[in-house]
Amino acid sequence: MVGPDDKGGGASEHDAKPVRTIIVAGQSSQRTREVLRALRGFTNVIWPTSLESALAQTSSADAGCLVIADDLREERVDDFLLEARELQRNLPIFVITDPDDVAEAVSAMRHGATAVIEIPPSYAVLCEEITRVMQ
């Protein structure tokens, strides 16, 4: 199980399970930086240098979940979601969205998001959801 501040001490080599990655997809924006800060208590958070790389990571056997942090600028979130869903049917995918943007949230759900989390008020919900799916 991977959670905030989980240092995983005491596990033997035989008991050790591969740590699954939390993939953060987003441009270098304030929102993405906030997401990375909120997830600093988790192990194995990766922020690929490009969206193509983020998509490639979602197909990895180690992929634990995908967090789409911002509007991805040139890329449409919906198209990105569809591609990610094609690569990994059961991968938990969280989309961060602005408050009250119900239409975007509904569209994200229709295109394969597991959950949509509005920010603000806080990233606590995101951390709870990630902890839950990574168990």
Partner: protein
């Protein structure tokens, strides 16, 4: 069997909203039925009736989300479009996670609603067509003899006639005869088509 016409069901406790939606849908050529409460709708709803559902979120008694849950418990697959004057993201996400087709916040343009209704009806039509096709495949499977079913299972696993004969302890000629009967009864033009049929009726993973 004659297809039942598609109906747009409207469930909303507000008289004015129900009437307005009914007029709009009627003007666009849709057949509609209305209900003033979730209980009223559920007491008369027949899952065999094709169509889609426009459902208010906030209603006294059973809410729209609670009614969605009841429909899910019943195994109903009718596309549900939620309508609300004050929705929020957690509510919308919950509705979508539980299978809603769409979630619309007021105010919305009439054409936007009509477009989504049409998409929902198309989804329902496609779903029912798949159901009928699956049922036909099951009927054909039921017409196979036990030995023919064994041959079908082995052949669709990719085994050659010679291997099937070995597995079943019969001659290759016998397998060929059974295989020909299977193809005829299943109305399959090729092995690939047969495999697709079996995948269509396979239980979900």
């Amino acid at each position: 069997m004659k297809e039942l016409p598609q109906t747009v069901f409207v469930v909303d406790d507000d008289d004015a909203v129900r009437n307005s939606l009914r007029l709009l849908l009627k003007s666009a050529g849709f057949s509609t039925e209305v209900a003033a409460s979730a209980q009223e709708f559920l007491s008369t709803y027949d899952a065999a009736q094709p169509g889609c559902l426009l459902l208010d979120v906030h209603m006294p008694g059973m809410t729209g989300l609670e009614m969605q849950h009841q429909l899910n418990v019943r195994g109903a697959a009718i596309p549900v479009i939620f309508i609300t004057g004050h929705g929020d993201i957690p509510m919308a996400v919950e509705a979508m996670q539980h299978g809603a087709f769409d979630f619309l916040q007021k105010p919305f343009r009439d054409q936007e609603l009509l477009d989504r209704v049409q998409r929902a009806l198309t989804r329902d039509t496609e779903y029912r067509a798949r159901l009928r096709q699956t049922e036909r495949i099951r009927e054909r499977l039921a017409s196979l003899s036990p030995r023919e079913r064994e041959v079908l299972d082995l052949v669709t696993q990719g085994k050659a006639n010679k291997m099937v004969a070995g597995d079943l302890g019969v001659s290759q000629r016998t397998v060929e005869i059974h295989r020909a009967h299977v193809m005829q009864k299943m109305e399959a033009g090729s092995l690939a088509e047969l495999v697709r049929m079996m995948m269509a009726v396979a239980p979900p993973q």
